[in-house]
Each structure stands twice: as structure tokens, then as C-alpha cells.
């Protein structure tokens, strides 16, 4: 058995950096595409609604791990040389866009119909109606679920380890193999995830309770 010293801890922190980066890229990229998906999903065009419903259905009906594998090897087939990190980031972006799109569709539909009617009566066109009236209200409604998904996404980045990308979990696996102290190493790794995810979960559920009380 080897000791868990400064070097090992530094290696884990390097892994943590990639975990955080992957989650941020996935969340921001997924957020940008997610708004697009949500808008198309709630549009008047039936084709747009059907296609986005299918897109969401595929991502919600298949394991994240499979999505990582398919995108990882799919990108390689396109003939462009990209490193593992970028391929994985693309996969998380697509995954997040489907889930955030579905969450935000729900929030857009939860905004009272009268708001749309009032905006129409005021003569606002689509862009202004969405940007200034519907989306700000939808954003507030969606906040607990969005934070909940962010926690899912952070935990989900651990699956990049199976593809071979060295983030926190993979770093833990490597250290565990070197030191033969799996329980200590995975205990530390779990604690690090917990320190990141728990405050977010707590904030999300706190917000949900506050909003439920305000709605009563």
C-alpha cells in the first residue's frame, strides 16, 4: 500500500479541474442549444415540435454512457482530429441541451396564457414577447429544476472516466490502482463531489420550497 501524499492529492485536484471545466462547458453549451430546443418545442410549427420532441426523447431514453460512446466514435468517423476532451464536451453539450430544453419547455408552458395574450394585445412581436415577457418569467419558474439538472450533469461527467478522459473519477481510479487504497481514495473522491453538489442541491430545493410557499 502506498501513502496518499501531496502528489496524489495534486493529481486528484488536476482531475477536479477537468470535472468542473467539463460541467461548465456542458452547462453553458447545453444552455445555449437548450433555449433553442425549448423555443422550437413550443413553437407553432408542427415539424419543429415533432423533431425536437424526438431529439429530447432519444437523449432521455438512452444511457448517458452510450451517448458518450456514440459521439466519441462518431466524431472520429467525421474525419476531424479532435482530442478526447473535446469529443466528450460535445457529448455533454448535446445531452444537456436535450434535458434543459425539456425543463425550459415546461417552464415556458407554465407561464400563464394571459401573459402571451397581453403581450399580443400590446402589439409585441415574437422576439420581444419571448425575450421581455415570457422567458424572464419562465427562467424563474425553471430555476429549481435547472439547478437540479446541473447537479445531475456534474455527477454525469464522471462517466467520461469510462471513455478514458482523466477527470476526477478517472484520476481517483489511477491513484487507487497505484496506492492500493481504493476505499480511502474513492472516499475522498466522493467527498469532493459531495462538497460541490450538496450546496447546489440544497439551494435548489430551498428555492423550490420558497416558490411553492409564494404560490400558495
Amino acid at each position: 500500500m502506498g501513502p496518499i501524499g501531496e502528489n496524489e492529492f495534486f493529481f486528484l485536484m488536476q482531475g477536479l479541474k477537468w470535472t468542473v471545466l467539463l460541467a461548465i462547458v456542458g452547462f453553458i453549451g447545453g444552455g445555449i442549444f437548450g433555449i433553442l430546443i425549448a423555443l422550437l418545442r413550443t413553437s407553432k410549427k408542427k415539424v419543429a415540435r415533432t423533431i425536437t420532441a424526438g431529439y429530447i426523447g432519444v437523449f432521455q431514453g438512452t444511457p448517458l454512457l452510450m451517448q458518450l460512446f456514440v459521439v466519441y466514435y462518431g466524431v472520429a468517423l467525421l474525419g476531424v482530429e479532435v482530442n478526447a476532451g473535446i469529443a466528450v464536451a460535445i457529448a455533454f453539450t448535446l445531452h444537456a441541451s436535450a434535458f434543459l430544453g425539456e425543463i425550459w419547455r415546461g417552464s415556458i408552458e407554465a407561464v400563464p396564457k394571459g401573459q402571451t395574450e397581453a403581450a399580443n394585445a400590446l402589439g409585441l412581436h415574437y422576439v420581444s414577447r419571448m425575450k421581455d415577457v415570457i422567458l424572464p418569467q419562465a427562467l424563474k419558474i425553471s430555476l429549481p429544476a435547472t439547478i437540479g439538472f446541473l447537479v445531475q450533469l456534474i455527477k454525469g461527467t464522471s462517466l467520461a472516466a469510462i471513455v478514458g478522459f482523466i477527470e476526477l473519477t478517472r484520476a481517483g481510479q489511477i491513484i487507487s490502482n497505484q496506492t492500493y487504497r481504493p476505499l480511502l481514495v474513492f472516499g475522498i473522491v466522493a467527498a469532493i463531489y459531495f462538497i460541490i453538489c450538496w450546496p447546489l442541491s440544497h439551494a435548489g430545493s430551498g428555492l423550490e420550497k420558497r416558490m411553492a410557499k409564494a404560490a400558495r
Binding site: 474525419g79 472516499g187 450538496w198
Partner: protein, 222 residues
């Protein structure tokens, strides 16, 4: 692009994929049952008046829900042998799935139990219903109906999560896919096919759950 797809190499292994699909279903089913048992026992402890019973459940739920399943399964995989328990990877996977799903089930079931109001139960007794009937018709059925959507979508999530069990080489679809990949080098074709199989499995499950719901919970609420 010069790549030519060859799904034939994957189709040759169809029987293996079929058996592995049953492996995934069995793993999911066993995981769900264990999750349900842990969920019900957890709620009993969580809602009890004694702090000694409820605090560990709260900690358990928070820890499991805020750490990745992959880390949990590694931890359990290495922890069990140290406790002198030697199990094959598939059984270990069932335990990990049950523990993970159980934490979510506790929160879902607790919400359902708390949704049945005291007045309803009193009304049931006032109507002269038997204690067993009050529990069955007034507490259990509405509570089940209230938690059914979240519980079943959690079950589908659990089924999709079984793919992570490949990391400890449990017998299921993803580990079969990785085996076929290393034999044929047809990575994209293999994973594309297996992704489609997962989609079929989760779609069928969704349909089955909807059918059950329409059959059992088709009474008006107000």
C-alpha cells in the same frame, strides 16, 4: 469521408446482444425491487419520531444523491470484499443500483405518504370503513397514485444507469458491447446499435408503466 459502415459484424453477434439485453432487464428489475424495499424501510425510519432512526436516513439520502453512481459502485465493489463478503460483479451491481435507487425512492415515497391528509383518513373511519380498508383504499392507493409518475421515471433512469455497471464487468448490455467492440473494432456500429436497443427498452417500459397506470388509477380525483 471514406469510412464504410459495417453493421454486419455487429449483427453476427445478435444472439449475444439479445442475452445481454435480458441481463440488463434482470439487473434493472432486481435493482428496482431492492430500491423499493430500501425506499419503504427508509421512509418508515425517516418519518419515525426518533432522531436515532431518522438522522442516518437523511445522511444516507443526501450522500447518495450528491455523489456519482460510478464512484458509489467502485466504493461498494472494493468495500464488500474488505467486509469479508465475496459476490460476483452482477450481484454487486444489483446492490449498488438498489442503494442508489433506494435513496431516490425514499424521497419520492415520503412525498406520497405526506400527501394523504389526516382528514381523509378520519372521513374513512366516519364512514364505518375497516382499518385495513382505510389503509388500502384511502392511504395506500392515493399515495401510490401520487408517487407513480416520479417513481416510474426513476425506475427508467435506473434501467439506463445499469449501463454504468460495465465498469465492474457486470453481465449486461454495455459490457457485451465493449466485448464485441474489442473483437470487431466496429466501435461506432456497436454503440449505435446498443443505444438503439436501450431506446427500445426504455420506450417499452414507458408504455408498460402508462398501461398499468391507466388500468389501476383511472378514477376521478374530484
Amino acid at each position: 469521408m471514406t469510412y464504410t459502415f459495417d453493421f454486419g459484424a455487429v449483427l453476427d453477434r445478435a444472439p449475444e446482444l439479445l442475452w445481454a439485453s435480458f441481463g440488463t432487464l434482470a439487473l434493472s428489475l432486481a435493482g428496482m425491487l431492492l430500491a423499493l424495499v430500501i425506499g419503504i424501510l427508509g421512509v418508515v425510519a425517516r418519518t419515525s419520531k426518533s432522531r436515532i432512526a431518522s438522522t442516518p436516513v437523511i445522511v444516507f439520502v443526501e450522500v447518495v444523491r450528491n455523489t456519482p453512481f460510478l464512484v458509489q459502485i467502485f466504493f461498494i465493489y472494493f468495500a464488500l470484499p474488505l467486509m469479508g463478503i465475496r459476490l460476483n460483479p452482477t450481484v454487486t451491481a444489483i446492490i449498488a443500483l438498489g442503494i442508489n435507487g433506494g435513496a431516490y425512492a425514499i424521497e419520492i415515497i415520503r412525498g406520497g405518504v405526506e400527501s394523504v391528509s389526516r382528514g381523509q383518513i378520519e372521513a374513512g373511519f366516519a364512514l364505518g370503513l375497516h382499518k385495513a380498508d382505510v389503509f388500502r383504499l384511502i392511504v395506500l392507493k392515493p399515495a401510490l397514485r401520487a408517487i407513480y409518475p416520479s417513481l416510474t421515471s426513476q425506475f427508467i433512469m435506473l434501467t439506463l444507469t445499469t449501463s454504468v455497471c460495465t465498469s465492474i464487468a457486470a453481465y449486461e448490455l454495455t459490457s457485451a458491447a465493449q466485448r464485441i467492440e474489442s473483437d470487431t473494432f466496429r466501435s461506432f456500429e456497436v454503440y449505435f446499435t446498443v443505444t438503439a436497443i436501450y431506446l427500445v427498452i426504455s420506450t417499452l417500459m414507458m408504455g408498460l408503466f402508462a398501461l398499468i397506470s391507466r388500468h389501476y388509477f383511472n378514477y376521478p380525483t374530484r
